[in-house]
């Protein structure tokens, strides 16, 4: 049996849940294991009903008032009990802030392997091989979990195409009876949405983003100049924001904004997975980076492998000339 731990927020399934279902559906074909989706929360019948329309075999629903807000203590306690009872082969969890908040504790609690940040799997003569990215996605590591199942894995966002989830099932919904989940030691006091501010990039048709390759704050001028010449907005990768070259609102990636413009320039950005998930659906991606091995070239459509300080001013001039000519 393959478990998919559905991720939900405010009683809506998060996109990673579809990606996990695709991961499970592929694995199910290769290993001949049925799929069970597990959903935790309060008043989540509608979510169970949504999950059961997918091509899976069963939904286990843990519905309890104490599960309204996510907490690692409650998730670990309940998943431990369900896994202990059902003895699945694999447990698939999102490699998200929430998934990685409880999965490591769950693995230690169960004393079972956790392979985090998976992008692929293989069936090698019946043995499960899980591939994950290391060194900021520059390399992959193929691993095989040891000992008896269950094997826990978290899937990197974007690694499995959520829109390919197969539907047409009519899975049985089973309730897992929750008496009272342990009182959470960690209590949520408040939740704050980020200020959209002046840099709301989600609707920008053209974005020019700069990364660590710019080397220092003052050099970011060339990014602003190129953006102006091409009629685009400026974005940034996480290290730029961490170094306080630009305010947080410019950040694109998993902890910043997710964008999908017509044209995206990634300049001096190596392409850590956290950045890629925030921009990889852009229609046309241009990467300028002197490191030909940089993972950004994996998602780019056009690339220039050269010193950005030489290329960017030339590009800016070309765009300026084009503007004047038209």
């Amino acid at each position: 049996m393959i478990f998919v731990v559905a991720e939900q927020k405010d009683n809506k399934l998060k996109p990673i849940t579809s990606e996990l279902l695709v991961f499970a559906q592929r694995m199910s074909r290769d290993f001949g294991e049925p799929i069970t989706a597990v959903v935790l929360g309060s008043s989540v019948t509608a979510l169970a009903d949504e999950l059961k329309t997918k091509k899976i075999d069963r939904v286990i629903m843990a519905d309890h008032e104490s599960l309204r807000d996510y907490s690692p203590d409650a998730y670990v306690e309940i998943l431990k009990a369900i896994i202990g009872q059902e003895k699945p082969f694999a447990v698939l969890i999102g490699h998200t802030t929430q998934g990685m908040d409880f999965a490591p504790r769950l693995a230690v609690g169960l004393r079972r392997p956790l392979i985090a940040g998976c992008v692929e799997y293989e069936n090698q003569a019946g043995k499960l091989i899980l591939t994950r990215q290391i060194f900021n996605a520059k390399m992959n590591m193929r691993t095989s979990p040891k000992g008896e199942a269950p094997y826990l894995a978290t899937a990197s966002p974007g690694a499995f195409p959520g829109d390919e989830v197969e539907v047409g099932g009519n899975a049985e919904v089973v309730s897992f009876s929750v008496q009272t989940a342990a009182a959470s030691r960690r209590k949520v006091l408040e939740r704050l949405e980020a200020e959209k501010g002046k840099a709301d990039l989600t609707a920008a048709p053209i974005i020019v983003s700069g990364g660590r390759g710019l080397k220092q704050k003052e050099n970011f001028n060339i990014i602003f100049e190129l953006a102006e010449a091409v009629g685009g907005s400026v974005g940034a990768s996480r290290p730029v924001v961490d170094a306080e070259w630009l305010p947080r609102e410019y950040q694109i990636g998993s902890s910043g904004q997710t964008v999908s413009p017509r044209l995206y320039f990634a300049i001096g950005i190596s392409g850590a997975i956290q950045h890629l998930v925030g921009m990889q659906t852009s229609r046309c991606i241009v990467a300028i980076n002197k490191d030909a091995e940089a993972p950004i070239f994996k998602v780019a459509h056009y690339g220039i492998v050269d010193d950005l300080f030489k290329v960017v001013p030339v590009l800016t001039k070309i765009f300026k000339d084009l503007r004047q000519a038209s």
Partner: protein, 263 residues
């Protein structure tokens, strides 16, 4: 407040990484090692908390000479003492066995009010070890922390969630926090700090000091086997535009206008 800050030695980010001959890790013999970036943010946060609440900051790391080096750097930044988990038997450890050994060492040192770790390392980068230590210690934790306040008994911390959302959570101490990049600006070691570091306590503990059996550590204790490390194949058909910066730029603009039609 007694704070233990976990630090991992990783290859300097500017290193050129080459896969080793057995294809199960990188060639690490000639590399320079530094503290993993997120661990520096964690140590800086530990030092700031100590400055506010008094107490002590202990840095801890597992590894060979490279771990000793980052521990000395931590002492130079201002940590009060260091614990080095050093044993040839630790070789081949995974996140699970590292977390188990660090938790044992923390307990042996008499526990801590607060344990800090970077949110993820620059090498494996899976973000598991810190949270695993919390479970081994049986203490609550908060991950991806971008702000910490304490009254000495409990913590109020800000966590960063996806999509730019932050949440504030409260948890009792002892506790463990994994610290997000960018929470502060880590200080540089001063010359005085570097000199003072040489006189600070530096404990070295082996597996047997921690009461760990051979099947709980290193490759034998690890929860998974590394089959292969490889450079992934490029799936995308990126078109690299060559020539001088001028030539490449002209080709690029042509492609964007006529082929991709996005201008």
């Amino acid at each position: 407040m007694k704070i233990i800050s976990c630090v991992k030695a990783v290859p300097d980010p500017s290193s050129r990484l080459i896969i080793n001959e057995s294809k199960n890790w990188i060639k690490d013999s000639d590399l320079t090692f530094v503290a993993s970036e997120a661990d520096n943010y964690a140590l800086e946060e530990a030092l700031r908390l100590k400055e506010k609440h008094t107490g002590e900051v202990i840095v801890i790391s597992m590894g060979g000479e490279e771990a000793a080096r980052v521990l000395r750097a931590g002492l130079a930044m201002g940590a009060d003492r260091a614990i080095h988990l050093l044993d040839p038997k630790f070789k081949g450890s995974d996140e699970f066995t590292v977390a188990a050994a660090i938790a044992k060492a923390i307990a042996k040192d008499g526990g801590a009010d607060l344990v800090l770790a970077g949110v993820q390392s620059d090498d494996l980068g899976t973000g598991m070890t810190g949270t695993m230590i919390a479970e081994f210690l049986g203490v609550p934790h908060a991950s991806v922390v971008v702000g910490v306040e304490s009254d000495g008994k409990s913590l109020k911390v800000r966590r960063e969630l996806e999509g730019g959302i932050n949440e504030t959570v409260e948890l009792p101490m002892p506790a463990l926090l994994t610290i997000q990049f960018g929470i502060n600006q880590p200080r540089y070691a001063s010359l005085k700090g570097i000199m003072a570091a040489k006189k600070k306590e530096f404990k070295v503990w082996s597996a047997s000091d921690l009461g760990l059996a051979d099947n709980e550590i290193g490759r034998d204790g690890a929860m998974y086997e590394v089959r292969e490390v490889l450079v992934p194949e490029r799936k995308s058909k990126v078109e690299i535009l060559t020539g001088t910066p001028e030539e490449a730029s002209i080709k690029l603009v042509e492609k964007l206008r006529k082929e991709a039609k996005v201008l």
